[in-house]
């Protein structure tokens, strides 16, 4: 399945939900996920189904002023 994550088109296999995507990417930190323009609460990762061409933003906090 082709997804646009953080501005880049990427191919993913065997993933159905946002939770799957995060597991596949191996992310173990505090993040926020936006799925097709909707910010997801943590408890909705497992139920948010991904479809071909979906757009995701995965953001985190960094140092800033």
């Amino acid at each position: 399945m082709r997804l646009k994550v953080n501005g880049q088109e990427r191919e993913f296999e065997n993933i159905g939900t946002v939770e799957d995507l995060i597991a596949t990417l191996g992310i173990h930190r505090m993040i926020v996920v936006e799925h097709n323009g909707t910010i997801l609460k943590r408890d909705r990762y497992a139920t948010s189904r991904l479809n071909e061409g979906d757009v995701l933003e995965i953001v985190h906090m960094v140092g800033g002023g």
Binding site: G26, R29, E34, I58, V59, H60, V62, G64, G65
Partner: protein, 263 residues
Amino acid sequence: MVGGQSDDVLVIAGKEFRSRLIMGSGKFPDPETMNRAYEAAGTEMITVALRRLNLDDPNEKTLLDYIDWSRYAILPNTAGARTAEEAIHTARLARAMGLSDWIKLEVIPDPKYLLPDPIGTLEAAKVLVKEGFVVLPYINDDPILAKHLEEIGCATVMPLAAPIGSGQGLVNYSQIQIIIEQANVPVVVDAGIGAPSDAALAMEIGSSACLINSAIALAKDPVGMAKAMAMGVAAGREAYRAGRMARKAYASASSPLEGIVGR
């Protein structure tokens, strides 16, 4: 740590702070130095930015992973936003982190001087205040804009002393004085401070706090400078409360004029 008077509390949106120095978390050479700087300064609030995760190394540590967030209030900013829309978007993402509904609002279309857009900032502030954010807008030295932002419910106004990261000091002194004179919310001088004398001056004219990043993080010794800045802020605050003498055009002797020997 450098403390203020125990009875002199800064209140922003109902939250109390003893320290009047808000610090950034950008540009520090390493996490140890950063943490020691926070400690030396006794700061109580730290700004952070929001960025896309690097998917190629998603668990790479950032400076922020080393901060003990039980000790400091976190103030996410919207840095990077060029329009009201982008700033609102970033603010919502920041709040979804679950750490804070406070937002340092920056709407900056211009990459060279990093000056904020008065129109976009007011527009974004209106939306964010309505959505329940505690909004701390970064603004140019415009007293009328400051008044508008206060009126629509911003928690502070944060005029810039000079362009971000320039270290030029209180270049906008004159109009920041007017902003302070007319404000009913705390005025936080944000950006441009280069040395403790700048911070002290900002506080002497009645600012409620200073937000400093570059001048500390880029000092040769950031820990020493953090302490110096905290002392400068505290000195200026103390002087504001103590009531400075009036400036005089002429001199006035410190020693008595009578009883001079041999005259």
